[in-house]
């Protein structure tokens, strides 16, 4: 069968970086082709070339055996190529229909927008591909998973039959990811071709028909999911063997470092997000907070670090009351915080790497003497941290926005971990990262624990929680419904707790039995 899409010798250079080095790739009709690689391997660059966002320095693109000139997304869409970006391109205050018709408006009488017709088409597409969505909902009211469906509908509405999905599961819960896979299988069955960019091995093995692995801008190999396994793919991706689990000694818990009592925190819409939560974290142990996203973990972490107001209850760190302390006061108690939203909170995207590496220490010696910042010291420290934490950047002077997501996260980790810290609050520390980086960050977290740091780990990844934590607290609807020892539990038991079922023998509709004070 002739390939529907063929990339030949695509090369793209950025100042100081060869992002794509003569990449060849073919996509057959009706297949799901996974593009696997670490962060910064050049996956997103390649797809941006295909989508017309970047112009390749060399190479050509063939669509249906004809050389295609793609100067921008408009050309790409005209050729039937559609892309779902990692960060969605939706307008929150518009309805689903309005977002779908944006840029391709259907009009009656020359001036009036024909919302009804578009809504009808959306309903048709929903039924056809199992993409359940209400065309009249506002985007801001939809969950991330549903928003992603809207992005896919947008492409189908424009008659795209070559779909590119850039790290589509990075923002999804496990259930949402399963739903997405079903949708993609439906799309495939109807003859669409899909390029699926990811660095999650499990997904690739489950979904893909063919796998191409990129490393350092080059194709390092391709594989058939039938005849390969996680370890082999990981080795191809990283270029060496990877241990997929974390080696660690049993914890040696000492004095209580973080003491949380009856904490109540509201969310943005003034609903109770954290409801009467109490727990302690001791020096030298990792307490994992598990839970499906949106059950109060985000607000809990922000409240503990001074970024959200605490309604009632108390927090004390190393015996000092920090219930209403400022972020700076908390940071000066030697608390490190890896924030959940690295682009909004953790980094100033328009600042160079060196400034981001001292973002919360810039005012203190040795980085500043009085008012004057000590550039030499900052640069030296930045160079050291970039080296030590293997941040891949052309230099410490480039803006952190030009780094890949994984390297941005490493900048944050480098900053927070190179301080002498007593308490580490890490929210989703490895979200969107590749195996190599995850392994590395996990190792550093355990190192900190063994050095006597108390660690509070908030993560939606059950694997991560299970491999790092000594104790696991499960949050459901703003409450900690149970705390278990990590070595005495199973994934299945935690899964049930995350769904709100305290007891395995409880009936499946157990959610209603949990007193829900947040309503």
């Amino acid at each position: 069968m002739a390939p529907i899409l063929e990339l030949r010798g695509i090369t793209k250079r950025f100042p100081g970086v060869l992002a794509n080095d003569h990449i060849d790739l073919t996509l057959n009709q009706g297949e799901i082709h996974a593009l696997l690689g670490e962060n910064g391997a050049g996956k997103s660059t390649l797809m941006n070339v295909l989508y017309g966002l970047y112009r390749p320095d060399e190479g050509e693109i063939l669509i249906r055996d004809k050389i295609a000139h793609i100067a921008g997304p408009r050309d790409a869409i005209a050729q039937g190529i559609g892309m779902v970006h990692q960060h969605f391109m939706l307008i929150p205050v518009f309805t689903v229909t309005e977002n779908v018709m944006l840029g391709d408006e259907s009009i009656v009488n020359g001036v009036v927008l024909d919302r009804k017709k578009v809504a009808r088409e959306i309903r048709d597409l929903s039924v056809k591909y199992g993409l359940e969505v209400n065309p009249d909902s506002y985007i801001k009211d939809l969950s991330v998973g549903i928003q992603q469906r809207v992005e896919i509908i947008k492409l189908l509405y424009r008659k795209a039959d070559i779909l590119i999905l850039d790290e589509p599961t990075a923002v999804l819960t496990p259930q949402e990811a399963d739903d997405l896979f079903q949708v993609l299988r439906n799309l495939k069955a109807r003859g669409n071709s899909i390029i699926f960019i990811t660095h999650k091995l499990r997904e690739v093995l489950e979904l893909a028909d063919r796998i191409t692995v990129l490393r350092l801008g080059k194709v390092v190999g391709s594989a058939d999911p039938q005849n390969t396994n996680s370890a082999e793919l990981a080795r191809m991706m990283v270029g060496r063997s990877v241990i997929l689990s974390v080696d660690k000694e049993p914890a040696q818990p000492q004095a209580v470092t973080l003491d949380v009592k009856n904490l109540v925190v509201l969310d943005e819409r003034h609903n109770v997000a954290v409801n009467d939560v109490s727990f302690q974290v001791r020096a030298g142990e990792v307490l994992g907070i598990a839970g499906v996203q949106g059950n109060g973990q985000t607000e809990l972490a922000r409240a503990l670090t001074g970024l959200r107001h605490i309604e009632s209850g108390s927090v004390s760190i190393l015996g000092e009351d920090t219930t209403h302390a400022t972020p700076r006061k908390i940071s000066e108690l030697r608390v490190a915080h890896v924030p959940e939203d690295r682009q909004a909170d953790g980094l100033v995207l328009g600042f160079p790497v060196e400034d981001n590496l001292v973002l919360n220490e810039y005012y203190r010696p040795p980085f500043a003497k009085g008012l004057v910042m000590q550039r030499e010291v900052i640069e030296k420290a930045a160079e050291e941290r970039v080296q030590e934490f293997d941040v891949r950047t052309p230099s410490i002077f480039v803006n952190v926005s030009s780094l890949s997501g994984g390297n941005q996260q490493k900048v944050i980790v480098a900053r927070e971990f190179s301080r002498d810290i007593k308490l580490l609050i890490a929210s989703q520390p490895t979200r969107g990262l590749d195996v190599g980086s995850i392994e590395y960050i996990h190792k550093r977290i355990i190192e900190k624990r063994d050095a006597g740091t108390a660690v509070l780990l908030v993560s939606n990844e059950l694997d991560e929680i299970m491999s790092l934590s000594d104790r696991i607290a499960v949050m459901f609807k703003g409450q900690i419904i149970d705390t278990v020892n990590a070595d005495e539990t199973t994934k299945e038991a935690l899964g049930l707790l995350m769904a709100g079922m305290r007891d395995e023998s409880a009936p499946p509709r157990a959610q209603t039995e949990i007193p829900d004070k947040s309503a």
């Binding site: 950025f14 100081g16 063997s241 241990i243 909004a344 500043a368 080296q387 230099s395 926005s401 590395y440």
Partner: protein, 469 residues
């Protein structure tokens, strides 16, 4: 960034690139040897991760990249100015009475129309440039006659124009910096004009009400009063934003009106600052508060210009070398990240507004102590509003603002000459300024006109944010 610093960085990155090359080969061999004993090294993963993966940097940055980047930055403004001159040329031609008279007879005398247009435009621009940069022939003659006769009158008269351009640029420098500081902090200070009035009134009051001080006390006192008044006036807007979340754009516009009418009242008949003259103005300030002039009449050039240059360096130093500047820039670039970093965002709003207002107040004090020596109602031709354009033109960089202010000062001054010699209305300069800003704000137009390539840099800079900062 200073030249020295750029050179330093360039040197560093080059040595680094060399070092990296060496270490990559080393790492390659380590890598191979490591792979052979696959099982043994998995436990020492931390060290391996740091060394096993070579840096993804096969193409070292070109040597002249910094020079090229500098040129890239200047290309768009320079071409924007050029384009604005060309378009304004047509505006001048088609608004000239002679050309309009010939227009109906275009088909009979096409050549005559074109030559008239050409003459009109060249006369106008020649006058503009002469007014802006001086008549160097006249300066030379003046110099000769001064050396020959000892009479400097001709020389000074010839020197008046180029120096007047600098005098005109001075308030632009201060106000442009004021807006730029706001932009850097993510604040849009439209109230620079009002803060300028506040500064002028305060320095006038100090200037005429205190008698008998030596100049080295009186002058700083008067300047300080101007800075303080501007800072307080702008600080109100900052405080309201920090504590009550009131939008500073609306706030500063409103504060403008209050200040305009307040100064009107102060200077009105029976107002507290009204002087003895029949006009609405303050008494004259004592010479001890004057910003001294460098040359005799008619050259009005005074020390305020050097004060402005000092302010440029001060703002650069403050924004890029101090913790205060780091905080302002962080809040401007990402308020959420600033909060995370422990910066008191509200405090920074007040501080940035105060700094911005202080510079605006200094602009007012400078005009008053350097040129007018008394305050009149409506004494500014809109320096505070042009400043917004200046800050955009200078990309909120202090040195960019300086360059833009010098340009605007020269254009404004040259326009006076253009009006008197070529009878082209002075307002054409406003058209020209507007065109420059329009082209700068829409660089795609300029790139398309001159068939420039979109710089590769731009593909990286997807995350644009804030007010021109």
């Amino acid at each position: 960034m200073t030249k020295a610093r750029r050179r330093e960085r360039k040197r560093k990155s080059q040595t680094k690139a060399r070092k990296r090359k060496a270490s990559v080969t080393l790492r390659g061999s380590q890598c191979r040897s490591l792979r052979q004993r696959d099982t043994r090294y998995v436990n020492s993963m931390a060290q391996v991760t740091a060394t096993a993966i070579p840096q993804n940097n096969p193409t070292p940055a070109p040597r002249n990249s910094i020079v090229r980047r500098g040129l890239d930055v200047l290309t768009i403004p320079a071409l924007s100015i050029l384009t604005a001159f060309i378009v304004s040329g047509f505006v001048i031609a088609f608004t000239s009475p002679e050309v309009l008279k010939l227009l109906p007879q275009f088909w009979q005398h096409p050549l005559k129309l074109l030559t008239t247009m050409h003459e009109t435009v060249t006369t106008a621009y020649a006058a503009l440039l002469q007014g802006a940069f001086g008549d160097w022939g006249a300066i030379w003659q003046g110099l000769e006659s001064w050396l020959a006769t000892g009479n400097a009158t001709d020389l000074l008269r010839a020197l008046r124009d180029p120096f007047e351009s600098l005098v005109g640029a001075t308030p632009y420098i201060f106000t442009g910096l004021a807006v730029a500081v706001g932009f850097k902090g993510g604040l849009f200070n439209i109230g620079v004009e009002g803060q300028l009035f506040a500064g002028a009134v305060a320095s006038a009051w100090v200037g005429f009400s205190i008698e008998g001080l030596p100049w080295f006390i009186h002058l700083p006192l008067a300047l300080g009063a101007g800075i303080a008044a501007g800072a307080v006036w702008a600080g109100i807007a900052g405080l309201l934003k920090a504590t009550r979340g009131v939008n500073e754009v609306i706030n500063t516009i409103m504060l403008n009106y209050i200040m305009f009418l307040f100064t009107d009242w102060l200077l009105s008949d029976g107002g507290p600052l009204r002087g003895n003259a029949g006009a609405p103005r303050t008494p004259e300030i004592y010479p001890s508060a004057y910003l001294p002039r460098l040359l005799p009449d008619p050259v009005r050039f005074h020390w305020g210009f050097f004060l402005a240059i000092g302010a440029v360096f001060f703002v650069y130093w403050l924004l890029w070398k101090t913790t205060v500047g780091f905080e302002i820039r962080t809040v401007g670039a990402s308020p959420t990240a600033a909060k995370y970093a422990g910066i008191a965002v509200g405090k920074v709003f007040v501080m940035a507004m105060g700094l911005s207002g202080g510079l605006a107040g200094l602009a007012g004090a400078n005009e008053l102590l350097g040129l007018n020596h008394y305050m009149v109602a409506a004494f500014s031709p809109g320096y505070g509003f042009d400043a917004i354009a200046l800050a955009l033109l200078g990309k909120s960089n202090p040195f960019g603002v300086l360059a833009a202010a010098l340009l605007f000062g020269a254009l404004r001054n040259g326009a006076t000459r253009m009006q008197s010699i070529a009878t082209v209305p002075i307002d054409i300069i406003s058209v020209m300024q507007a065109l420059i800003i329009a082209f700068i704000a829409a660089p795609e137009i300029v790139r398309w006109l001159f068939r420039l390539r979109t710089p590769a840099q731009q593909e990286h800079e997807v995350f644009a944010r804030g007010w021109g900062a």
